[in-house]
């Protein structure tokens, strides 16, 4: 039984000594013998530290710095545009919105009525509604807001009888301002808008 005890002690002390983290090795001070109260008490047990003596550090680990070079990335899929803008046929006016709002204002309704009437008279025509915002605020939120504005205009046209398949939508958020002259409210309010584009389908040659 005593043998087991001695063995356990030796193992335990060995664990203390070998378990030191490597950081200790870096310090250039002579190793102090590890003496714990347990060791003094158990004089009968001879402790043989099983660690190599700590040498004065001649630590010079070599670090090679490398880096993956940034080569140009190639996009895998390039989408071809389906439509181009038809500029000559007809031009709708922009409709405008209040700051951070996407409900159709009363002053926008006549324009939407004109657009719907034209769409009903030209059943082959397709339009794109662009949603735009002023530069106030955050890109991502403004893109969602621009989407809501385009959707509000689209829903209004649908309510006036235009089929939804003839209306495409895209949000440009604050990225394509109409007025860039100043940061004054006069200019910013012109940018909170939905813009209508008549589309022409690109036919393959």
């Amino acid at each position: 039984m005593k043998k087991i005890f001695v063995l356990v002690l030796i193992l335990a002390f060995g664990f203390i000594l070998t378990g030191c983290p490597p950081r200790k090795v870096v310090l250039p001070e002579p190793p102090k013998p590890v003496v714990t109260p347990e060791e003094i008490k158990e004089k009968a047990v001879e402790v043989k530290p099983e660690v190599k003596p700590q040498v004065r550090p001649e630590v010079k680990p070599e670090v090679k710095i490398t880096e993956q070079p940034l080569v140009k990335a190639e996009p895998k899929e390039v989408e071809a545009p389906k439509y181009i803008e038809e500029k000559v046929v007809f031009k709708f006016e922009d409709i405008h919105f209040d700051f951070d709002k996407y409900d159709i204002r009363p002053d926008a309704k006549p324009t939407l009525k004109t657009a719907a009437d034209w769409m009903l008279k030209n059943p082959a025509a397709k339009i794109l509604i662009e949603g735009h915002c002023c530069e106030i605020g955050t890109n991502e939120y403004n893109l969602a807001l621009g989407d809501r504005r385009a959707k509000a205009a689209k829903d209004y046209l649908i309510a006036l009888g235009v089929t939804s398949g003839r209306i495409e939508m895209v949000s440009y958020g604050e990225e394509r301002p109409f007025c860039t002259e100043s940061k004054a409210e006069e200019c910013l309010k012109k940018n909170r808008r939905a813009h209508f584009v008549i589309l022409k389908e690109i036919t393959n040659k």
């Binding site: 039984m1 087991i4 005890f5 356990v8 335990a12 002390f13 664990f15 203390i16 378990g19 030191c20 983290p21 950081r23 870096v26 310090l27 250039p28 714990t36 347990e38 550090p57 630590v59 010079k60 680990p61 070599e62 670090v63 090679k64 710095i65 490398t66 993956q68 940034l70 080569v71 140009k72 990335a73 190639e74 996009p75 895998k76 390039v78 989408e79 545009p81 389906k82 439509y83 951070d100 794109l128 106030i136 605020g137 955050t138 890109n139 991502e140 939120y141 893109l143 969602a144 621009g146 989407d147 809501r148 959707k151 495409e168 939508m169 895209v170 949000s171 440009y172 958020g173 990225e175």
Partner: protein, 430 residues
């Protein structure tokens, strides 16, 4: 007799077990008190550590030692002692104790040799104890002089603070040139700005995967908003999601196989989680309002996002499954662009303050609101990987550029040049 022996042996076993246990615990206490930390950066009352970084000897020695000095200085944890105050002549033999009269507590010595590579030998000294606490040799090609210097700064930082430095981290961002907008990568200090060649009519803030191997971002090409993935290993871009309407990515989930995004595919801007393979889309919100800019907490359990469901753009937090939605911002009528700190204990965001957008920080429970910026418009804030710094976009100098600052708002500076219209920065995770 046999019974007695059994009892005795049991007692002995208990004794051995408890003895081993006490040894084990003393072992652990040895472990915890082992590393000397020169600056306790977690303590609010830490004192800046005065450090001297004399010009390294040899070719490019000045450049390397200056980069190291600038790195350490930006942290705000060190007091760099001006080189004009040094009293030890470079021709004298070096003795760390000679540096204590000028107030230095640590000295960095270095020498550079140029063979096929640059070889730098660096020593860091504890002035009080007069001993060397770090000695290392570094090797790198001439073109990697900045990463080389940042690596040395990281080792010095780690030795003195016990924490991992961010000096080799990078920032991904969007910049505009004559071909439209593209994704760029630069070092955290604004050096080595590189276009990676990906373009779009509009590209939004890219987000890093947590292992730093991928970027995910939204781009508008030919009137179509899609979500794209860039893999740095193969340097290829792949479309991971597209549908009619507006699709804007928010974040990777921590496991790296899924991403969270806002899409109008079902009519309204709502939040979805989808796998990178493009299947298994899970819808998290369904309201008639705007839900956008979702960002996942570091533990993957919570999502912060922007919604106008209360009548104005505000920041909300919910569980990953979409339950337990709570609004956390109540000041002001326009709060957007949330980003979590790496520990998950703070959220930085952009809020409308008077007539401008400013950077604020808040606890995820809605307490502790603090304003960090005051000049110009400040947007797209996000944290550095150690949570000690924030990068953001500002137009305070008359054009959009990328800025960094300490997470308490100190040391705000632009890191992109005047002639580059840059925005949407995100710090790499390592």
């Amino acid at each position: 007799m046999k019974e007695k022996l059994k009892v005795k042996s049991l007692k002995f076993k208990v004794f051995i077990i408890s003895f081993c246990f006490s040894l084990l615990t003393s072992h652990f206490s040895l472990l915890t008190c082992e590393a000397k930390v020169y600056i306790d950066i977690s303590s609010p009352a830490f004192k800046k550590l005065p450090i001297a970084i004399p010009e390294f000897s040899g070719p490019s020695g000045k450049e390397i030692s200056n980069i190291i000095r600038d790195d350490l200085e930006f942290t705000g944890l060190f007091l760099n002692i001006d080189r004009s105050a040094y009293i030890e002549n470079p021709s004298q033999s070096f003795n760390p104790r000679n540096w204590s009269p000028i107030g230095a507590e640590a000295v960095v010595k270095g020498s550079v040799k140029e063979e096929r590579d640059l070889i730098v030998i660096v020593s860091l000294y504890d002035v009080f104890e007069g001993k060397e606490i770090l000695k290392k040799e570094y090797k790198a090609g001439r073109e990697l002089i900045r990463p080389l210097s940042h690596t040395i700064a990281n080792d010095i930082y780690k030795t003195l603070t016990g924490e991992t430095g961010i000096f080799r981290s990078r920032i991904a961002f969007v910049a505009e040139d004559e071909d439209g907008k593209g994704i760029y990568i630069m070092d955290w200090d604004g050096n080595r700005i590189t276009s990676i060649g990906l373009k779009g009519n509009i590209i939004l803030t890219p987000r890093w995967s947590r292992d730093g191997s991928k970027l995910i971002y939204s781009a508008e090409r030919n009137r179509q908003w899609s979500i794209y993935l860039l893999d740095f290993m193969s340097m290829t871009e792949r479309k991971v999601f597209s549908s009619k309407g507006t699709n804007i990515v928010g974040d990777f989930l921590p496991e790296g196989n899924d991403f969270i995004f806002s899409s109008t595919k079902d009519g309204n801007p709502d939040l979805y989680i989808m796998s990178l393979k493009g299947d298994n889309s899970i819808r998290l919100t369904s309201s008639h309002s705007i839900e956008v800019s979702p960002t996942v907490s570091p533990d993957g359990q919570c999502i912060a996002f922007v919604s106008d469901r209360g009548g104005s753009a505000q920041i909300y937090v919910m569980r990953r499954d979409g339950s337990d939605v709570r609004r956390i911002t109540f000041e002001g009528s326009y709060n957007t662009s949330p980003a979590w700190s790496p520990k998950g204990d703070r959220i930085v965001f952009s809020g409308r303050w008077g007539a401008t957008n400013q950077t604020f920080i808040i606890n995820p429970d809605g307490t502790g609101l603090t304003q960090l910026t005051t000049q110009g418009n400040n947007e797209d804030p996000s944290f550095s990987p150690d949570g000690r710094y924030i990068t953001f976009t500002s137009d305070r100098d008359g054009f959009k550029g990328i800025y960094i600052m300490r997470a308490n708002g100190e040391s705000q500076k632009r890191i992109t040049p005047k002639n580059l219209r840059a925005f949407g920065p995100r710090w790499s995770p390592m």
